[in-house]
């Protein structure tokens, strides 16, 4: 349609962007406010102000920090476990035909089963506690990581491999300095997808099978009929989810400064 301005937009354009952002959010909150007044049922739709007070309340008594920290810690543990298994597995699957043959079938059979569908079985295996949400997130994150890594490795430019070989670079250095860097953009994109999917899964997992965490908190406050607290915690889930993604995007530009066009699903 229009040609996008290259690089960083000029300062007044950015200021204008901030202005538009706050204007839109103000209008949205205004509509919410009016709607809450018209409905005038705190149980169905609390006003923005009462949600704000609920948020402050949760922040003051430490509930917010506790549940948010618990969920984030579980996310980190699950992602580390998924990376430790998924990245090497994706690497060997991408590098070797026989490894691919050996793992393709179980991966293709397990992958369509959503992590969330494991919750009842995980309840039986692990009971309610920390293990269940971590397992569900681990499972959810594992497949995007394996597949993204394998695809990145397989997509290594054949000419770059040839160039390295003509310089006498073979074996481990070839994997370390040609295959891995070339797969890195794809790995980071799959990492972002994996984190986003895991963050969705953690809410469901904690809602059913954990005594703490953000998912547990919204379900707890729902059962207490404290809708303002429910919405406050939904806001927190949204903010943390988008902050994690922003962080990974930063890591992306920092780790792969050479890849200019990032196509995102």
């Amino acid at each position: 349609m229009r040609t996008a301005p290259a690089g960083r937009p000029p300062r007044n354009a950015r200021a204008h962007g901030v202005l538009v952002y706050f204007r839109t959010m103000l209008i949205f909150i205004g509509i919410w406010f009016v709607g809450a007044m018209l409905i005038s049922n705190r149980l169905l739709l609390p006003s923005p102000t009462s949600v704000f007070w609920a948020l402050l309340d949760a922040a003051r008594d430490g509930d917010l920090a506790f549940h948010a920290f618990t969920s984030l810690l579980r996310l980190v543990v699950a992602m580390l476990a998924a990376a430790v298994i998924g990245l090497p597995l994706g690497l060997v699957i991408g590098l070797s035909r026989s490894w691919e043959d050996a793992f393709e079938l179980p991966i293709e059979l397990l992958r369509p089963i959503a992590g969330i569908a494991w919750i009842p079985l995980a309840l039986f295996m692990f009971g309610i506690g920390n293990t269940l949400p971590v397992f569900i997130m681990f499972y959810t994150a594992l497949f995007p990581l394996i597949i993204g890594t394998a695809a990145g490795v397989r997509g290594t430019d054949r000419r770059l491999l040839a160039a390295a070989r003509t310089m006498g670079v073979t074996g481990m250095p070839l994997v370390l300095h040609v295959v891995l860097p070339s797969a890195l953009p794809s790995i980071i994109v799959s990492l972002r997808l994996a984190v986003a999917a895991a963050w969705t899964a953690v809410v469901a997992a904690e809602l059913v099978g954990a005594p703490s965490g953000l998912g547990y908190a919204i379900e707890y406050f729902r059962s207490m009929l404290a809708t303002d607290h429910v919405i406050a915690f939904i806001v927190v889930i949204g903010i943390l989810g988008s902050l994690t993604d922003k962080l990974l995007r930063l890591a992306e530009t920092w780790l792969t400064p050479w890849s200019r066009d990032r196509v995102l699903p």
């Binding site: 000419r159 040839a162 310089m167 006498g168 860097p181 792969t256």
Partner: protein
């Protein structure tokens, strides 16, 4: 004197036995030590296949390719390759690309880090990239990328330079400038014994005539040796060379050799 590289009855076909595509048929020629040999021919004559086989990335279906009398069995650091689209590592800076072989490959074995830095600096200066060391390939123009590829090639100090249409992607002015640069880096001002052996694949006839000591002309479908033309233009060559009558004469001679096939190729 033994040739640096000898091709003896080389055949190359791709695909299965029954519907094989014959790329090269009974190809024999020599490359002498220190000579600049250009290979020209219409598209489909198997120029790039020849180069890949010399690089050790591909092997002949039958026949022999000898390097100093020994059959080539794979890539080797004594043969450096410059690829058609440069094959620069996008995640490494100009410097990172040029030092790649010295860091991770055979050419760097036994080289101290100080000597390595010196060699990389020299290569950067030689190809005129001082000041751009920390840029990434995507930040460079086509001509600059070509210089990086050339710098990477000379930093590894191979005996033999194999170049696959390295200037094809450049615009006409840049190409002319880089042709002269290439001759300078190869060492056309020095004695023949100190020069390195070059095989330069191109589809540009005037480029081949301007650069080479001899031009191998191939015919296409399948690739066969059509002629080897001695280029008796004096060195050093420069802008004056292009204006000489002999330059035009030699170009015309080679063009006559491949005109008919080149024309047929455009009608396919």
């Amino acid at each position: 004197m033994m040739p640096k590289i000898a091709l003896k009855g080389v055949n190359k076909s791709f695909g299965h036995v029954n519907n094989a595509f014959v790329a090269l048929s009974d190809l024999s020629f020599d490359i002498r030590a220190g000579e600049f040999l250009a290979v020209v021919g219409p598209s489909g004559c198997g120029k790039t296949t020849v180069l890949n086989m010399l690089a050790g990335l591909d092997s002949p279906s039958s026949g022999q390719i000898l390097l100093d009398g020994v059959a080539i069995s794979g890539p080797g650091a004594e043969r450096g390759v410059m690829f058609q689209d440069y094959a620069l590592f996008p995640w490494r800076t100009v410097r990172g690309n040029i030092e790649f072989g010295l860091l991770y490959g055979k050419p760097g074995q036994g080289v101290s880090s100080e000597a390595r830095r010196k060699r990389v600096d020299d290569a950067i200066a030689l190809v005129g990239l001082s000041g751009a060391e920390n840029k990434y390939p995507h930040q460079l123009s086509g001509g600059m990328r070509q210089r990086v590829a050339l710098g990477r090639l000379v930093a590894n100090q191979p005996d033999i330079l194999l170049m696959d249409e390295p200037l094809a992607a450049l615009d006409a002015q840049t190409r002319i400038i880089l042709q002269e640069e290439l001759l300078r880096i190869w060492g056309q001002d020095t004695a023949q014994e100190t020069r390195r052996t070059v095989m330069f694949v191109t589809h540009g006839i005037d480029e081949a005539v301007f650069l080479a000591d001899r031009v191998v002309v191939l015919s296409s479908h399948p690739g066969r040796l059509k002629a080897i033309v001695d280029i008796d233009l004096p060195r050093p060559r420069n802008g004056e060379t292009r204006k000489s009558a002999r330059f035009a004469e030699l170009s015309q001679e080679i063009w006559e050799l491949i005109r008919e096939e080149a024309y047929r190729a455009t009608m396919k």
